[in-house]
């Protein structure tokens, strides 16, 4: 019985990987055939980014059971730390592949560091308090990034919070972060292929974490904290682990984002709480704790507003209505009843056919 369960699990995981790879191959074929509009082509890397974000947030919300509204903050950390690295190394390391690989590692590592630093105090709180504090941290990160000026010359790095002149750079020094104007001229290293590889790595990390001893400990804490503690599971350790892995993966998504744009700025739109909420919507609609669901929901819900583009001004309105209706349909007693009826209807049909 046990082995059969295990193989079922492995099968299910391979289906998830398979879906991603198949989607990549199909899109690549369409790209080669020139059947993809430039609008959709520009959406491919952000799509990968959203998938990574959704999967990583699902680790916090679904597996660890903590509502975090500050995911965009970690993405911001990953984006800016890696963009600074890439800009500094552009002349030293001209090989894009190695440079981007290192940038990904650095962005991920910095986001993980912030995950640990923020996680230690924050994870002491519960429920909505935790949600509002993570939101606060995300906003703080975004705001602080907006006032930082960072320059570099032969004497090293200079930081200021006023303007680029007060950096006091020597001749030939360059300003890397220009406060609200952000970082310009980041090399555009992100490609769809790298995005898909990063998705696969993210899935590999998260799925293996969930199905490991550690993952079971994390889920035990989610289901019953006191019971888990009483059998000797260290609550703080495992919660922090899940939170910082989730943060690190968000940082990876941030690296992808930063290297897809020539100008990186911290706006409310990309790194504000609205972004965190958008990702949370993916996670909840995909099914809390369901990794494959997150992947599919992220893709569908990113494409949906684009597919509704012909409806112009009405598209976000329709998006909102779809959101509300889906939630009521899936979560209310009335909606469940309708679901049951539909299932029953199909069952009857099947038995009739048989």
């Amino acid at each position: 019985m046990k082995t059969r369960n295990l193989s079922k699990l492995t099968k299910s995981n391979f289906i998830t990987y398979g879906i991603v790879i198949a989607a990549y191959i199909i899109v690549e074929i369409f790209l080669r055939a020139g059947m993809v509009s430039s609008l959709l082509e520009g959406l491919l890397v952000p799509l990968c980014m959203y998938v990574i974000l959704a999967v990583s947030l699902n680790l916090t919300v679904g597996i660890s059971g903590e509502l975090s509204l500050g995911h965009a903050g970690f993405m911001c950390v990953g984006a800016f730390s890696s963009a600074i690295f890439s800009k500094c190394m552009e002349t030293v390391l001209p090989v894009a592949g190695i440079r981007f690989f290192l940038a990904i590692l650095i962005g991920t590592a910095f986001a993980a560091l912030f995950g640990v630093l923020i996680g230690i105090p924050v994870l002491r709180l519960k429920g909505d308090y935790l949600a509002i504090v993570t939101l606060a941290f995300g906003e703080i990160i975004k705001n602080v990034v907006n006032v930082v000026f960072l320059g570099r010359d032969s004497r090293g790095f200079h930081i200021s919070t006023k303007d680029s002149i007060s950096l006091g750079l020597e001749k030939g020094g360059e300003v890397i972060i220009k406060g609200p104007q952000g970082i310009t001229g980041t090399p555009k290293d992100s490609t769809f292929l790298i995005g898909v590889i990063l998705i696969l790595i993210t899935l590999f990390v998260v799925i293996n974490l969930i199905n490991s001893r550690t993952g079971r400990a994390i889920m035990a804490i989610r289901d019953n904290r006191i019971a888990a503690e009483s059998v000797g599971i260290s609550v703080t350790k495992y919660k922090l682990l899940a939170f910082s892995v989730s943060a690190a993966l968000a940082g990876t998504a941030g690296v992808l984002y930063a290297h897809n744009l020539s100008t990186l700025t911290a706006l409310p739109k990309n790194f504000g709480y609205n972004m965190s909420i958008t990702i949370l919507v993916f996670v909840v609609l995909g099914g809390i704790g369901n990794i494959r669901g997150s992947v599919i929901a992220a893709v569908v819900l990113t494409l949906l507003p684009e597919l509704l583009r012909s409806l112009n001004d009405y598209r976000m309105l329709i998006y909102a209505i779809i959101l509300i209706v889906t939630m009521i349909f899936t979560s209310s007693p009335g909606g469940r009843e309708i679901q049951e009826r539909i299932k029953l209807f199909f069952k009857k049909k099947k038995t009739k056919e048989a």
């Binding site: 105090p121 709180l125 909505d128 509002i132 705001n143 006032v147 609200p180 939630m327 009521i328 209310s332």
Partner: protein
């Protein structure tokens, strides 16, 4: 010194607006145990109704504000009935996502009707400003009206909660809705009324906010909404005096931070203070007084 006092007055004025929003937030949270992300957008709708009736149709400001309050009350009840009531027994996250959906919905309805351009809101207050210290300090009419409105609302709400039957029903439902139902309290209508009061307060807050800061867009409400929630948490969510104190403190911190530290970091300072308060006192400043939970 005069400068500091006038910043302080501005802070109290902004804080009063936050407090009014936070009062609505805290009541809804206390009774429905949900983060009502759409609350901030009700503020925006309230301001737009006044914009249409007063600047557009040329009605007197008092009538415009009354229409706005009525409209938002109905809107709040409609939102509760359509979007939240079916999910009363659903998971918290499902309700949260629905609230986000409602928030998007309201923003985009406003966007369709009024467009994305910033509207300049004409103040509804026609009281002359008070000049103190030989003109070194001016207290605007908006400030006076906002602060007075906030105090009246707070006292009114506390009296309502303590002495009216409906108010005590709200307390009972927030304490334990199952037990309240067994005691003959109509839980559904009590929750509907809480949303009605919260939304009416949001309308007033919207008008006062836009009278002091006269730029109005479909996204005007979301940040004050979040800040008001921060204020409610700050003071101890569920507590009416807590929301009041939290709101005022938040407004003062924000304005003083803007004036003396950095205008861009003002929000960061507000959030940092929230984090520190929650880490020291995880239930907020007045969070202990569970009896006052609404």
């Amino acid at each position: 010194m005069i400068g500091f006092i006038s910043y302080l007055v501005n802070g109290i004025s902004l804080g009063s607006v936050y407090a009014i929003i936070a009062l609505g937030y805290t009541m809804v949270y206390g009774i429905a145990k949900m983060l009502n992300f759409a609350h901030g957008d009700v503020i925006m709708i309230g301001a737009f109704v006044v914009f249409s009736t007063v600047s557009g149709a040329g009605l007197p400001p008092v009538v415009g504000v009354l229409i706005s309050v009525v409209a938002c009350t109905l809107l709040g009840m409609a939102i509760e009935r359509i979007a939240y009531k079916p999910l009363r027994k659903a998971s918290k996250l499902a309700v949260l996502i629905t609230a986000i959906g409602v928030s998007y919905f309201l923003q985009n309805v406003a966007l369709l009707i009024y467009g994305a351009n910033t509207k300049s809101f004409t103040s509804v207050v026609s009281i002359e400003p008070i000049t103190l210290a030989d003109g070194a300090m001016v207290i605007s009419g908006e400030t006076i009206v906002t602060v007075i409105a906030c105090i009246i609302i707070m006292i009114g709400l506390m009296t309502f909660m303590k002495y009216s039957k409906a108010g005590r029903a709200m307390l009972a439902v927030s304490e334990d809705s199952g037990a309240a139902q067994l005691m003959g309290v109509n839980v559904n209508s009590t929750i509907a009324m809480t949303f009605a009061i919260g939304s009416a307060l949001a309308a007033i807050a919207g008008v006062l906010l836009c009278s002091s800061y006269p730029s109005l867009t479909p996204y005007t409400g979301s940040m004050p909404g979040i800040k008001a929630f921060v204020a409610a948490v700050f003071g101890g969510i569920g507590s009416i005096p807590g929301a009041f104190i939290g709101g005022i403190l938040l407004g003062v911190i924000e304005i003083l931070g803007k004036a003396y530290i950095s205008s861009q970091l003002a929000d960061a300072i507000v959030f940092a203070v929230l984090i520190i308060v929650l880490l020291v006192k995880p239930t907020g400043l007045l969070g202990k007084q569970i009896q006052e939970k609404v």
